[in-house]
């Protein structure tokens, strides 16, 4: 009696027979068969496009740029209340007029208005209007 036969003694006969019949040699797949299967698979799926086409490299670059822009915008300081305008052109007296109208009725704002006006007319390079 072998070791395996000892183990089978505790099992039902039907199960022992089923296990013995399932215990067959593993089918051997040679390298040639493997290549053939690979070849057939390639021929089968050659014309099929993937459901999600591959994005070109520039799409990744564009996404990176968008993320960078978003991060830089988050890093920008918010507009201060005492800086009433951000204009791309040099500040001039029309901006002072707009500020004076916005602050109309607030006597405490006169100093702020005068400061902007003095910046407009300053002759120094730092405060020059043009």
């Amino acid at each position: 009696m072998t070791h395996n036969d000892d183990e089978f003694e505790a099992l039902p006969d039907a199960l022992i027979e089923a296990l013995k019949s399932a215990d067959e040699a593993v089918p051997l797949i040679t390298a040639r068969v493997d290549r053939e299967v690979l070849k057939m698979a390639r021929e089968q799926f050659e014309g099929r496009k993937p459901a999600w086409p591959r994005r070109p490299a520039w799409a990744a670059v564009a996404a990176g740029v968008l993320i960078m822009i978003f991060v830089v915008q988050l890093d920008q300081p918010t507009q201060q209340l005492n800086e009433p305008m951000r204009v791309s052109r040099p500040v001039d007296i029309s901006d002072v007029l707009n500020l004076a109208r916005e602050r109309s009725g607030n006597p405490a704002a006169q100093a702020e208005i005068d400061a902007l006006a003095m910046r407009v007319v300053s002759l120094s390079p730092a405060g020059a209007s043009r």
Binding site: D92, I93, S94, V96, L97, A117, V120, V121, L123, R130
Partner: protein, 150 residues
Amino acid sequence: MKNLFIALVLLSFSISGQSHADEHDFRFAAVDVYLDSAEPVAAWQFELDDRAGVMKVVGVEQGDSPAYARAPYYDREAVRLGDADRIIVADYSLADAVELPSGRVRVATVHLMLNSDDDADFSLFLVTATTYDGVVTDARISLAVRTGSE
């Protein structure tokens, strides 16, 4: 004797000052700046320069319009220090549109010291003139020079 000494010292200073003044010939002039606009002007700004490089601004006076009753804005510190060889002058008015000036109006007078017998070569540039509605108006700017002597 002591009084005589003081008088001599003062006299010497006086003579010295007179000769110092003679070395530097300068004149004074006033430049009236006029703005000509078909529409009422709520804000204006100009720059006056001298291409000959002989002028120093010594003061700025307001114009004729009651809507601009106070002295206009200019770099008072540069004028005080004698550094204003050009000047930017500007003012705004919160008056109603009917009270704002239109047509030809003197908006400012710039008082100058001319440091040479050479004539100044003025360059007058209108930076902006804005209507009551905040629109830049097509205005013209001009000047008239009044000269005097020391």
